[in-house]
Subunit: 232 residues, 4 copies
């Protein structure tokens, strides 16, 4: 019944260790089916080596299990909140990838320092502050979703333009129109995070990229005048 959705979710999850973005079970990917108001997500704590498409769990936007023998990822409610509120998002990825997590632990935005970054987004990669104690001690994973939503609202960011966030003290979440794009963004974020780490430790007063370069690189890949790629 949900075989295609499970298969697509499985493929996205299996890309994470392949791209060196997760060790052990430190990550999960999900895919939404908007027509049914459901999403598929990795089961909790199942190693990638033994993961099978039929293990993938189907949930609704409250994070309740609709189908599946296994318990879904402990981060399921965060995915649910993002899918429910950001209606253009088709897939979500959470990892503890090394460099992105190091920035999250340092509670610092990743500054835009080069065109690799500007090819994908025009702003620093936002790091949401750690949640306040009431949120942590409440419905934690659900509140994690709201922490992301609130930070985007506070900074006036659009989730279709900025497809990634760091959670302070925690790790990154990325998303995209498809699960495949969310996985791509997780790999992209890690690459940007590593290069920014190196530039910042090499030259602590490294300046941000100037606005003309940011605009040039972003708009050659995005919007109506884009000319990067095969245009499909």
């Amino acid at each position: 019944m949900f075989k295609n959705l499970q298969e697509e979710c499985y493929e996205a999850n299996m890309m994470l260790p392949k791209l060196n973005l997760v060790v052990f079970t430190f990550g999960n990917a999900s895919v939404v089916d908007r027509s049914q108001g459901l999403f598929a997500i990795k089961p909790s704590g199942v190693p990638y080596e033994v993961l099978h498409p039929s293990d993938i769990v189907i949930c609704d936007f409250e994070g309740r299990v609709v189908m599946g023998d296994k318990r879904p990822s402990s981060d399921t409610k965060t995915h649910a909140v993002l899918f429910q509120n950001w209606t253009d998002v088709g897939g979500i990825v959470h990892t503890h990838s090394t460099y992105a997590t190091a920035w999250a632990q340092a509670q610092r935005d990743i500054p835009i320092l080069g065109t690799t970054h500007a090819d994908y987004l025009t702003v620093d990669i936002p790091c949401a502050p750690p949640m306040d104690d009431a949120m942590i001690q409440g419905d934690y994973e659900r509140e994690t979703g709201f922490q992301i939503l609130n930070e985007f609202e506070r900074r006036n960011l659009s989730p279709s333009e900025v497809e990634m966030v760091l959670l302070g003290n925690h790790a990154p979440f990325t998303w995209g129109k498809t699960a495949e794009k969310a996985v791509y963004n997780a790999g992209l974020l890690e690459a940007i995070a590593q290069m920014a780490y190196l530039s910042c430790t090499l030259r602590p007063d490294v300046p941000r990229l100037k606005q003309t370069l940011i605009d040039k690189h972003y708009f050659r890949k995005h919007g109506k005048d884009a000319y990067y790629g095969q245009g499909c």
Copy 2:
């Protein structure tokens, strides 16, 4: 006679190079058989590429060889002391993994900076100070075991809650209910050590994780209210 124990010990040892935790012969794993008061351990100085299950040595809790043609790991008495005194431990791993060893050489605890760390333990990863000269010049490997025991007592830590330690100037030891868990903890420690290194060099005044986040992440994976994983 000890074929299963040797096999299990062999499998644990072979995971160490696979997880990039050892080069050459810089590591060893052991497995205990509580019913017999014996443990299996890697032979000393035998490269992983030529290691065979039948090479695994069986020792008692004094570190004496009970069965095996080969000399056991030079660290055997450290394993013996830990098995004898910490009766819940089923397996022990010693490596010189890169980032964990760098912290040990710097004689610094690994501060708890993120939820990756808090998912597994609620305190900084302890670095025991280098031993005093009398211990070093005495029964060194046995004293190494006592240095770990003493440090846990001094800090009031439980070895079933904190399954890893750095030995100042030396390298890490990890353990667990099984050898497989001890190996897992060795890989986990290396991942935490790398991310903490990056966060600390990026932001030298990086703050420790706040207590509410520590508790939240630890207790969602441990204790009676845990909800991570498949509950088995």
Copy 3:
């Protein structure tokens, strides 16, 4: 018709992920055919895993497509300007390799610190400053080529002696008599960039290599008295 040129270009491009110089589609290689005044280049945004020799696009020195179903790399005009003005160049490579890009983001030349560097060039690896706004907002990729040409003229560098450059805030370009050599230089640059990063963070006041060592190492590999390699 252009089958050999496409094949050679394809082989050069496929070396980039193999040498860990690109992730996703962050790079491109080109090969010139001087007799026809044309060059072959990777199509824009096509992942290496699905790239096929017949996808390679043939362009003239204005960057116009002469043959091919696909849109050429967005960096095509930069390649075109370099091929047109530097008549000894046979192949060009552009990557966003990690350490080289980190130096470019820091807007710093890579100082000559050791004989690995001096084996290939006698000067610091130049980092061209970010372009001025008029160039960025004009014919950007073409101006990128001129920014490189101008920097080499300003510093009085010869492109047959210095076969690499960093573009400030962007990433490296390398070239050579053949596409294979341009790929080699891209790998060489990344290795030099990593070692220089490590030396500079270990010892921020690290001195440049002295001139006698620079000359010795360069001229044992280059010029009429060279004695490195098989002399063919």
Copy 4:
């Protein structure tokens, strides 16, 4: 005639890329035959992927070619001087491995910070200063050998106890009773160099290992009371 010597030399050379100690042609290994006063060495500039045992060149202790179609490594005279003067050395390896070279470029000894280091040597890994101009402009590769010999004499080091050196601004040389041991030492040096880099950048005032620990670890692996390994 020299088939076994060539084969042994070939095997040692092929280990270098396998252990990630060289890229391209940045390294070479040699093996001596003391009975004949000859040694086998890699040909200059031949990539490892196409190297064949029959390509290995046989030289005498003046560095003259005795057998072989190819030109020997440009570093041949350095090997020759070391073989001639250090009569216990059976094999020599030269690499530009990343971390060891970074220390050489920084012109710093690698301080002894941990037991990984003390398991193999009791002193800091020496970094010989860059040569004076007369030596560089003279018989450079031969003088490189003397620079190493002189530094060992000045520091009163024995080449059978300290089997590695950094050449300031250049890169490491390692050696051993066999070529296999020289390769091992090249890998060991790189591991020690990386961990020391990490410890020093994490804690710039990191103290050297205390003498009792140095002695304990060195003498459990070396000398008449050694008890590490299988004793053969």
